[in-house]
Symmetry: none
Subunit: 200 residues, 4 copies
DNA sequence: CATGAATGAGAATTCATTCAT
DNA sequence: AATGAATGAATTCTCATTCAT
């Protein structure tokens, strides 16, 4: 597998994402994908080893694309909180622009398929954010909490709001988004009031 | 006339949940379920109209059970923040005790199947939390933000931590959980420091 | 089997005939019949041994009813041609009144199921007609041809016209029917013009 | 790319016809057909959309083949009665040679499936006979009756005799067939004796 | 590289029938 | 007698994948 015609490969990916988003992983068959992509079923097997591989590649390439788009071009000399808000803002806006990608990622990563992907492969996509966290902890500007906790109160709430946006339940204005970013930052930034249990 | 066998229905549900957790929605077939539940495939169709209905009923009954378990028995005369923390703590602990239920809900609600369920049917499960939010907003103890925003910074981060727990990436100690609940509360409680965009 | 409640038995028969006429033998299941007859599937097996038996009994009882209705009450002292025309007219009118019965008979008798029914069982239903033919042959009023041939040019054309009527393609007026009966009679009545091959 | 294998399609058709003749429309399953045709069940669905389509195509192609075989090559310059007898004779002999086709047609056209076929599609197969009728009516050689009536006293009696032949109840000698054709012709030919109701 | 044909395995669902009450 | 529950076997049809061109 892995051949030339990028147009065809792209068509296969687009068809897959669209179908999976609309019908679900279980209701999307290789022949449906083939039909919608205007290729023969056999052609898919030139570009991907099998269905599992197709889905995995899709997941990885969407992650990669999102990560690239979100984490490139932000100036690391900015104050930590600014950098942090820039990243979250870009993430929010990126997924608003690419709802199909967002939905696909959610579906895939909440299914057992996700276990077939090595942790490291994913972890890397968050690296810049983790670096930011590390810097913040060193500078005593961010609470001394594990990355997962910090993500849970910053990145994931934002992702949840993307979901609300896409379902139409809550569409943030620009100013509201900015306030939200402040909320996210406040929830992890270190301050004078000391918590009872966590030594921050 | 033979009476309907609740044992059988229960076996079907349990088998479904188990298989779906292990193999995924897409890889779980009616005959696999039947086999694991020790009934005939045809028997499933006595209790559920079809596969879609089976999954939907599972989703609703798991939601209901979780909601009941989490939202019953908390004393409403307690201070708002206490009530709030009790609910989140119970939610966290409930899903820790019922990982299969948690995983099922995540998988189902991130698939297109979720769109077949009326909004109202779901919304109700959160009602006590929404009531709390409403009270808090009236009392000026909670920021004047829409429910979705409040959930995004309280309930969903906690759910994210359940996920981390179950994947083994981050298992909170009791004291850490308590600190986390404080974090959640702090993120939505109204305070003297006035944000730039939100008038709280 | 064979029990009491005639209402139930009648309901089962009526439902069967209706469904088979509308959906076809292949598309009619015992549970559909049960549902339409407002009884339990198990109940059908009290009245009939199994599906094959149900169909067979239906066929026989419809044949019997038709035969009874057509062949009773015609006066045998009438001239042969009058008797003959009376019978055909009654047959035509009977099936016009009972389209469901007609359609069922056609469907059943043109399927391999018919082979499960002994020839004698059916033959009897035509007996009065056969007697008429025999008398006619003896009296030299009817061509000396086998019963099957005589039926083919009298009874079956009339049945074909019933079919046309029911499909809406050709609905005979009363006078047209009478003319048709004359045609039928002419085709088998003996006359002076002698055929080349058959000695009539 | 593999080309479609006409041998396979033919095998599927032959197997279908054979099974339907022996077991009946209702008792013939796609897998039985596949097995007897020595193909995979899935292969049938390459050539036919579904079971209903398979049966419909079978019906149409058998009708077409019969029609072609019966109605080609008869000389239209012959006297009307000769032409007419030629056609009926060919029909009789054709179906005697192809009992499976005859039985299939009878079974299909007496089931509700027939209603899924447009009238026009069928009507065409009889066209040459209808033309003959039209000519005969114009020439005042045939009674002035609708096509359906004429068919009922000519074509269908002959078909009924085919049925008798195949069931073994009455096998006509050649000379008997000829006499029968005369009967058919006489029943529709116009003559001096004027009927009471029909103005012929 | 690309294809439509081909397929065995398996999907969801229904079947005719029997069971337990 | 009558029922709805229960079922193993069978139904139609689709699946992921490979084959032959």
């Amino acid at each position: 597998m892995r051949a030339r015609d990028l147009k065809k490969e792209e068509a296969i990916c687009a068809a897959s994402i669209d179908l999976i988003n609309r019908k679900g992983l279980s209701e999307t068959s290789m022949s449906q994908i083939a039909k919608q992509a205007n290729v023969s079923p056999a052609t898919i097997y030139i570009y991907f080893k099998n269905k599992e591989d197709l889905l995995k590649q899709l997941y990885l390439r969407i992650q990669r694309e999102a990560s690239t788009s979100i984490f490139t071009g932000y100036e690391s000399f900015l104050p930590l909180d600014e950098s942090f808000k820039i990243l979250l803002r870009k993430a929010y806006q990126y997924f608003l622009r690419k709802p199909e990608h967002f939905i696909f990622l959610e579906q895939y990563s909440n299914s057992p398929l996700i276990s077939k992907i090595g942790d490291d492969q994913i972890q890397n996509y968050f690296e810049p954010l983790f670096n930011l966290f590390a810097r913040g902890r060193q500078n005593k500007m961010i609470k001394d909490l594990p990355d997962e906790m910090l993500l849970s109160f910053t990145f994931y709430p934002i992702m949840q709001l993307v979901k609300y946006h896409q379902s139409g339940k809550l569409r943030l204005q620009y100013s509201e988004l900015e306030a939200t970013l402040v909320m996210a930052w406040n929830s992890i930034k270190r301050d004078r009031e000391v918590g009872k249990f966590i030594n921050n």
